[in-house]
């Protein structure tokens, strides 16, 4: 093993990627132009890119390096959070951009790529390190990975810091559409890459507030002692959007909100909320704890779905005063579509910490507000010492807002000034934007840099993905069994179907109105 770089010992602002070539398959696509290239450019502006660095776009269309650079410059100009483009930095950055044209099925594409990467190692000092980004549909993963392997483009797994050349692959969700397809996809990936080389992006995990969940829980001694069944009455997790399917009707007809949001983002939020303290922040230590949560979920047997899951689909309605169409009126959506645009679930984490504490989770499109939050509702005081107008004192609620207005709020009860003892709920409200300014890195910047550094904590591991699907699959089994029943409709701009309110009302609780 090679000794580490002595000049990096104790370097406080050491957030630079390792020398590498980033190879983007699907470089002509929207993701590359809108997200990946602006993120890489922002890393360059922030001096986070290594000196040995190159980006190689791979796609079917023939184009020159200059054409590719011009396209990327336009994309960065439109979508970077740093505007305008700095011409000096762009000139330096674009020297590292190049393009290889070819179909993903053709082995010649990969032999060309191989030669090109070797030249970059010599000319740009990329140190034989490769970061493959598959910005392509999952159906293309298999053929790309097989060809990468056969072309000798994949280095064997190596220990971090060993100095041996590394190969890593980043893949985007959806990681399958059910447990069987997720396993098949993972098996395909595993034929080429060791799990330690696979970085599955869930961009939610790149958000500052999501990362802060761990800090909040495990760096503050105040809350962790209360974070259990003794003190918590229930937990609500909400991922609500105002927008509809925004022209993605075709995609949505194949997925729905449960597969698009609940199976990944929402489950990850649940894991971070419910997990035990990891022994360290090492990737596997954190992911082991998340997997334990997923394995603790009470299986949603088919017979339980009706009582614990509510789905819905948006009908016409008003969002912010504007009339919006129903889901079935959206382009590329079937007139009799049964796809879920809303889902609410009661989830139980059957372990020592959370036994008996329900987690109510919901996600939906065309809801009243765009908000993502985790709300921990604590138990009521055991004895009503004070007279409250509604006959009871409101329980304390700790809310972690992921978006918008990232922050943390704590609701508690206080006395109104005056002779009478009148109680009033107040909130202590901490907003990230106010306290620290709002120019935080985009999730893709953080995640791309982490993958260049081989830090996998914010990426999803194979067993997490499969456990998530294992849980969700039962819900779909039950829905398939009731094939004739359409999902309940809810008016756009509301908080979902009435049945979702009933789900909590049966437990004597109600949804928050965030």
């Amino acid at each position: 093993m090679q000794a580490p770089n002595p000049l990096r010992r104790g370097l406080i602002e050491d957030r630079t990627g390792e020398p590498c070539a980033v190879v983007i398959f699907g470089a002509s696509g929207d993701l590359t132009r809108r997200k990946l290239m602006p993120a890489l450019y922002n890393l360059a502006v922030n001096r986070s890119l290594p000196s040995g660095f190159a980006v190689v776009g791979v796609a079917r269309r023939e184009k020159t390096d200059d054409h590719f650079r011009a396209e990327m410059k336009e994309g960065v100009g439109q979508h970077s959070r740093r505007k305008p483009i700095d011409p000096t930095l762009w000139t330096d950055f674009e020297r590292g951009l190049s393009y290889v044209a070819g179909t993903f099925e053709d082995p010649k594409t990969y032999s060309k790529l191989h030669e090109h990467l070797e030249a970059l190692d010599r000319e740009r000092g990329t140190a034989k390190n490769r970061l493959f980004y598959l910005a392509v549909p999952p159906a293309d993963f298999g053929v790309i990975m097989k060809n990468l392997k056969e072309a000798g483009l994949v280095a064997p797994p190596s220990t971090a810091g060993s100095g041996a050349p590394w190969s890593r692959v980043i893949i985007e969700k959806p990681f399958g559409h059910d447990l069987a397809s997720a396993r098949a996809l993972n098996d395909t990936v595993a034929q080429t890459f060791d799990e330690s080389q696979v970085f599955r992006i869930d961009h939610y995990l790149g958000k500052e507030t999501v990362q802060n969940l761990l800090v909040f829980r495990f760096a503050n001694s105040l809350f962790e002692p209360l974070w259990n069944r003794e003190h918590v009455d229930h937990v609500q997790i909400t991922v609500a959007e105002e927008i509809g399917v925004e022209g993605r009707g075709k995609f949505y007809e194949q997925t729905g909100v449960t597969k698009d949001i609940v199976e990944n983002h929402l489950m990850q939020l649940l894991c971070l909320t419910a997990m035990e303290p990891p022994i360290s922040l090492a990737a596997d230590a954190v992911r082991d704890e998340k997997v334990k949560v997923l394995r603790s979920l009470r299986p949603m047997e088919r017979s339980m779905v009706q009582d614990n899951v509510v789905r819905g689909q948006y009908a016409r309605g008003y969002v912010k005063g504007e009339e919006v169409p129903s889901y079935r009126e959206e382009p590329d959506v079937a007139k009799d579509s049964r796809i879920d645009t809303y889902v609410a679930m009661r989830v139980h984490v059957d372990n020592w910490r959370w036994g008996g504490v329900p987690f109510y989770v919901r996600a939906g499109k065309r809801l009243a507000r765009r908000v993502t939050e985790i709300a921990i509702q604590f138990k009521k005081v055991p004895h009503g010492l004070f007279r409250a107008p509604d006959g009871g004192i409101s329980p304390n609620v700790l809310t972690m807002r992921i978006q918008p207005d990232e922050g943390i709020a704590l609701r508690f009860t206080t006395k109104e000034p005056g002779q009478a003892t009148i109680l009033r709920d107040v909130a202590m409200d901490f907003r990230y934007g106010s306290a620290f300014g709002s120019n935080t890195p985009e999730a893709y910047e953080r995640l791309l840099l982490d993958s260049m550094r081989g830090e996998a904590t914010l990426f999803t591991r194979r067993d997490e993905v499969e456990e998530q699907w294992s849980y969700i699959d039962n819900v779909f089994d039950a829905w398939r069994a009731e094939a004739s029943a359409p999902p309940p409709l809810y008016a756009a701009g509301t908080w979902g179907p009435e049945q979702a309110d009933d789900l909590l009302a049966r437990d004597g609780r109600r949804w928050r109105r965030p």
Binding site: N5, P6, L7, T88, D92, A127, G433
Partner: protein, 379 residues
Amino acid sequence: MSAGSATRLIARLEKELRDLWNPPEDPTAIPMSRVCTMNIEVIAGSHELLERYTPVIDEVTASIPSRVILASIEPDAEGDEITGSATAVCSIEGGHNICSERITLRATGNACARSASAIEAFLVPEIPTALVWLGRVHVDDPVFQDLANDAHRIVLDSMYTSLASLLHVVSWARTQANAPEISDMAWTRLASWQEMTARFFDNPDTRQLASKITKITLRQASEPGARLGPEPALLLGWIATRLEWKTSRLGGKTRFKRPDGGTVSIELGSVPLPKGVAPRTLAAVVLEAESNGSTMMGSIERELGSGAGSNQEDATLDADVMVWKLNVSGFPPHEQRVRLGANKAAKWLERTLHRPKHDPAFDESVSFAEHIVQDGLTV
């Protein structure tokens, strides 16, 4: 000045602070939200210097909302009194009016002796306190000692005081139980240099050359013959301590020895000082290494004044480009250009306040720099 007048001043300012947060009379006005994440005490030797620094601190509080206490301590000024005022400094963030509190005090004559207690009266409890000392520090000054002992961090800028002043404070801190951490904005400015220097040895092909450096060249923007500035001295200290070099003296001259016994020669030089750039600013570093016939030369050159060409929103004249070059025998040369962020006092203070309080590399580099100061190295 009587103790009673100080008490009355504090009471008046506290009332002014409370009044700031009364609901606005105009119902259509955006309500002000008081946000406070730390106390920042800024101490200057004159009210003129403090006035010049006030816009800097206002800019800092836009991203680190704080209670700021700006105080000028002027024992030679006429009058024995402490005067002051309080105001809110607000910035619009996402439609919210986010406000910090700024208290300005001026102590003159004999009242200076009591100024520390007046300043401390305004500290918000339970949050960190940073003491920013503008100008030279005298560690036996009771005002400094009183404020420093209650601070979590002392922030200096050795570029504008001196490396010797920094060393005095560091030495003083070593003798104190529960001493505050010392931060130097010159050290913060070196972060980019350190990171770029480390890049010479990131590639496995060059890694082993880090222990075979034969020569280091440093250039600063100054007249020839000027003393070595804090930035180059601290960078030299940082490289030397990371690579475990030892110093020795031969004929009164400092020599640098590698752990393998090899000698590292040091060359110091100067470049012309462009207008608007602080004297003795670090301008270039060049490392040369040789091992088994393989040679390496890595250079980082700051294009002083090139920030003028930047089209970025927050650019200043000296948001300069740094050109990084690496030549290793048998490999093609590599070059990278990065831009330093806007070189503004507010930015450096903000970054310094965001850094971890304790930085072992800083302590080690400062200790090493003491040798350089003793030698009075010039360029």
